[in-house]
Symmetry: C2
């Protein structure tokens, strides 16, 4: 703990928790300006504070700054993303969903500028994820995505732009090759980081009463009358 | 937003982000005192602020207060947990790992008192999780565990005890039956909530330099000399 504290940026992130959560959003348009290693390590150190199953702390974080490695991840992102983007754009255009089209523009921008991302963090599980039994997969991913959320919230509190993506990992074989990961380390999430061109701000969500059931699914006493 | 804000507790959670993260820990020993619905909804509302793949917001939260449903989840927890606890205790005893033994005591306490837990929140995905391709599972769980982490951090900031467990979901069939979930809603995480008997406080983690690689796996320039 002493060692890591010495490396990390000294100022703690003091943004109130609720403000950070309410203004967290995917920021995909990033400036090319560099991000200090100390700040990135600070974010990862807070990521490590998240819970893991049986407190195994079986994670690995690859911080990518080498342009060649970023370009390789960008190619993977593009190979899966092109088809996805085309399909999503067609659906959004047909539905006249301008909000979705704006989101897709940002996703496209990110794909086009992936290699220029200042820092790309890849969150990995130290181990392989068994597809069965289902609880094994849920427990495994439940031991890495809480840490990813810590990283995203910490980025927001630090004023850094960040987003959670998985498309560059559509092929774990190729992703492992790009990152030099052994077969028994599983890449789970990719977080491009940089100073934002866009802005953080409030997000819109369905009212909580619409997604909460009491005691049994579908019993919705907290739903507000229309 | 207006509706949910009206339902939620009015005070925002002002604990600094970093303090909440550094003092988050699984609190398993809970007092039987009730927890206000408004506070639980406030936590869930903040959970909803987490990102989801393609911003689908395809989640469902079941808030369980009915003792019969809690007892059913407790039986599921016990049926999987007994074996797990026995094995873990034997391993920890053999290794002389007193910290682990204390953790297992708390897990045992939780199992023994599950039906008295004031509130149990079950976070679900609205959809089924395909085991293949692997990116489908990663993206699905990556759309629910960030929200679970928001809920845990918010609980910590509110002074509520919470923990992330998956054992009661070892059989999705039985878990769905206990919660009245349709086949196409997937329970992913269980969070028992209540006022803590234990205390929050700093956790210990491996130094960040030990789990961070730069550019390629195994390149560890941030590791501190011993």
């Amino acid at each position: 703990m002493v060692e890591s504290a010495a490396m990390a940026t000294p100022q703690p992130l003091t943004m109130p928790l609720e403000e950070a959560m309410r203004t967290q959003r995917a920021i995909r348009r990033l400036k090319p300006d560099p991000v200090d290693d100390a700040l990135v390590l600070h974010l990862v150190e807070l990521a490590l504070k998240a819970p893991t199953g049986s407190n195994a702390q079986n994670w690995e974080f690859v911080v990518v700054k080498d342009r060649a490695v970023k370009a390789a991840l960008g190619r993977l992102n593009r190979s899966a993303g092109t088809l996805y983007l085309r399909l999503q754009r067609r659906l959004a255009t047909r539905a006249g969903d301008t909000r979705k089209l704006r989101l897709l523009d940002a996703v496209q921008w990110q794909a086009d500028h992936f290699a220029e991302t200042p820092v790309v963090v890849v969150a990995c599980l130290n181990g392989i994820v068994l597809p069965w039994p289902s609880i094994a997969a849920a427990s495994a991913y439940g031991s890495i995505f809480p840490s990813v959320q810590n990283l995203l919230l910490a980025a927001r509190a630090a004023g850094l732009g960040a987003a959670l993506i998985t498309l560059p990992l559509w092929s774990r074989f190729f992703a492992r090759r790009a990152l030099g990961l052994p077969w028994n380390v599983t890449p789970c999430a990719v977080i491009p980081l940089g100073w934002p061109s866009g802005r953080y701000g409030p997000t819109t969500r369905r009212p909580v009463g619409e997604v909460v059931s009491l005691d049994r699914y579908g019993n919705r006493p907290f739903r507000q009358p229309a």
